[in-house]
Symmetry: C2
Subunit: 406 residues, 2 copies
Amino acid sequence: MRLSQTFIKTLREAPKDETARNGALLVRAGYIHKEMAGVYDYLPLGLRVIENIKRIIREELNKLGCEEISMSALQNPEPWEKTGRFSDQEVDIWFKTEVSSGGELGLAPTHEEPITNMLKAYITSYKDLPLQVYQFQTKFRNELRAKSGILRGREFLMKDLYSFHTSEEDLDRFYGEVEKAYAKIFDRLGIGGDTYETFASGGIFSKYSHEYQTFLPVGEDTVYYNGDKSVVLNDEVLNDETLEDLGVKREDLVATTAAEVGNIFKLKTKYSEPLGLKFTDQNNELKTVYMGCYGIGVSRVMGVIAEKFADDKGLVWPEAVAPYKYHLVGIGEEGMEAAEKFYAEHPGEVLFDDRDIRPGEKFADAELMGLPYRVVISAKTLAEESAEITERITGKTKLVKLSDLK
Amino acid sequence: MRLSQTFIKTLREAPKDETARNGALLVRAGYIHKEMAGVYDYLPLGLRVIENIKRIIREELNKLGCEEISMSALQNPEPWEKTGRFSDQEVDIWFKTEVSSGGELGLAPTHEEPITNMLKAYITSYKDLPLQVYQFQTKFRNELRAKSGILRGREFLMKDLYSFHTSEEDLDRFYGEVEKAYAKIFDRLGIGGDTYETFASGGIFSKYSHEYQTFLPVGEDTVYYNGDKSVVLNDEVLNDETLEDLGVKREDLVATTAAEVGNIFKLKTKYSEPLGLKFTDQNNELKTVYMGCYGIGVSRVMGVIAEKFADDKGLVWPEAVAPYKYHLVGIGEEGMEAAEKFYAEHPGEVLFDDRDIRPGEKFADAELMGLPYRVVISAKTLAEESAEITERITGKTKLVKLSDLK
C-alpha cells in the first residue's frame, strides 16, 4: 500500500472522549474510527489486523474439523424465550427493536439459542454427532459503560464456536482439543506468554468454565495466580471450595488485572434440553445432545495486542497480525528509486511511505503505526548496497544487503 | 469437503412459509437456514458462495484503487438528523433501538451519512482527493414484506462503495470507471448476459441514476427495454422527457420483470453539503466535496443466480461462484478408492460424497446442490482409466481419462 494513495493519515489527536490507550492510539494511527462509545469503524489497516487474527483462528479451528457458518444478528424471541434469556431481567445487555410487520426482535449478544434451534433440522441420529460449527460474527451488547476502546464494544467482532456431542465424555474430549487449539492460537497471536487459562464460574451446569485472561494493567477483570502461575482463577470463584479443588492456598495467590480474550464453557444440556435438541442413540433411544461453547473476542484481541505492546512512540504489532511486515521509507531521489524497486518486489508485504514530506515526519508516523520492520533506503545505505532495517519492538537497527532482502 | 463430515445435509422440505424458489432450493440444498422472513443464516456452502461473490467484486474494485473498510451497524442519529434521514417519515425502513446509557440508535440501512461524517477527519485539501472506499457490510432494513427469499432481506449483505471528488467532472470520470467495472463484475458472476444498466430516477441532484437490473421472472421491479436492449429504463422514469432524452419511443418498449442487483448514483453534494465535508482547493478556497455511491447486493446476487439457473432438479452454479467445482461420487470399493485419490489430488475444489448411501441418493443430492461438474468413478469407468464427468448446466456426460484430470 502506498501512503500517498490511501485516504488514511495519522491524526494529531484522538477524540476527546477516547480515554483508553488502545482506542486513542488506534484512532491516531489511522486503524479505526470512533462512531460513539463502544462502536468503531475499521479502516484499511485495522481491517487487515482483524483479518489476520481471523485467519489464525480459522486455521486452528479448521484443523479440529470445525465448520464455518454465519448466523443472523436479528433474533426471533421464540427460542430465547424457551431458555428464559429474552427477558431483560435475565440478560441485561439486549438491544431490542420492533419489526414493522409486528413484534419485537433482539440483536444477538451471543448465539447459543439460534444455533441449537437451527441444528434440530440437521441432528437426528448419533451418526450426525459430534459436530462443531463456528462463525466470525458481529455481536451487539447494550453496555451501560463502554470506555475501554475496542476492549469493550457495544458492537464487536467475536468468534463463537459451538460443539455438539452424544455424551459428556465426548464433550470432555473435544473441550480438551479446544484447550490445546486456544493455547496455539494465543501463541500465534503473540500474546501466548501473558495469556492464562483461568478458572471461572461454570454456572449451574458445570463446576468451572475457563476464561483466557491476558494479564494487562488496563484489564477490567481481577484474577489471582500462584507462584509459578500454574493456577490462575477469576475472583468470582475465589472461595474455600475452589482453593481446595485446585490445591492452592489463599496466601500464596497474587492479584492482577487482566482482559478476558476468550472463554470456553461446557454447556452440557443447558440449551439443548429446553430447546429440544435430541438424537436417537444406537439403541434407538431419544437422548439430549451435549453442548460446549467457545468464544474469542476478535476485536478485543486486537485491542489487547495494541495495549500490550505499545510504547510511548506508538503501536507495536507482532508480525503475525501486523497489517504489513515492512514500513518502507526512501530518502532522496536515489533512495526513492530503490524504494520503488523494493516495493515492486514485495507486493502485499509493504506499506510504502511515498509521500512528499520530510523524513522526520515519515519516521514518526512509522513509529506510531507500528509495523514490525522499518526499511530505510538512502544514498548512504545504497553506498553499502544496503537498506537500514529497524525492528520496531527492540528499536535495533542494522544494515542489510539489498540482495539479502529478496 | 467430505459430505460424511459436514453437518449439512439436503432436506426434503423447505420451511412452509418459504414461497420463493431461491429460498426454498437454497434451504433444501443446505446452503442457508431461515431464521424468519427476510433473515437467513449462511451455512458452509452458502458462505463459500458469498465469499466467491465478494472476491470477484473486491478484485475489480481494488483495480480502481478503492480501499476496503468496515463501518458499524449501530448509528448515532446526529449525522442522519443533519440530512433529515433519521426521520421515519423520510426513511421508512429503519430499525431503531435504545442504548441503555440513554438515547436512540439506528441500525444502518445504508452508510452515506457516517462515511461522509467520518471523512471530515481525513479530507482537508484537494491533495486528499479523489478517494474511494468500500465495504461488505450487513445492512438492516425494516421491510414490511419480505417474501422473496434472499432477494429481499431485512438483514442482508451489501457492497457499498463511496467516492469523493474535487469536481463534478472528476465524479463523472470515476462514475464511468465504475460502470466498466460493474459490467466486468456481473460478467464474471455469470449474470452479465441478462443484467442491464438501467436508467432510473436521479433524485433531486441528478437527472438519472443507474440501476443494474437482471431480467428475471420473479424480479420485483418492472423495467422497459427497446428492441436491441440498448436502452433499458425503470418504470419510475417512463415519461415523455426520458423518452426524448434517450431517443426511444414508448411503442417500441417492452416491459419485463427484473431484480435490481446494483445501483450507482451521482450524489454530488447531497450529503457533503449538510454534513460539511469540504476541502481547500489550489487557490485556498473552501469548497464542498462531490460524491458518488455505488452498491451491489451481495446476498441478493446469490439469490438471483440461484433463481436464474436453477432447473427442476435443483441449483446450478456458474463456476466462478460455485462453492466447489467438482461433486465427486465413488461407486463400489474400487471406485471409492480411486475417488479418495482424486480427492487428495484436488484439495479445496472437491465436494466428496463419501457417505455410505445408495448411488441414486448421491446423484439426486448432486443435482440439488448444483456444483458445475459431477465426477463419478466406478469399476466401469476405471476399466477405461477414466471418470465420468457430467456438466450440471447442460447435463452432458463424457468419459475423461483420469490422467487428463490432474
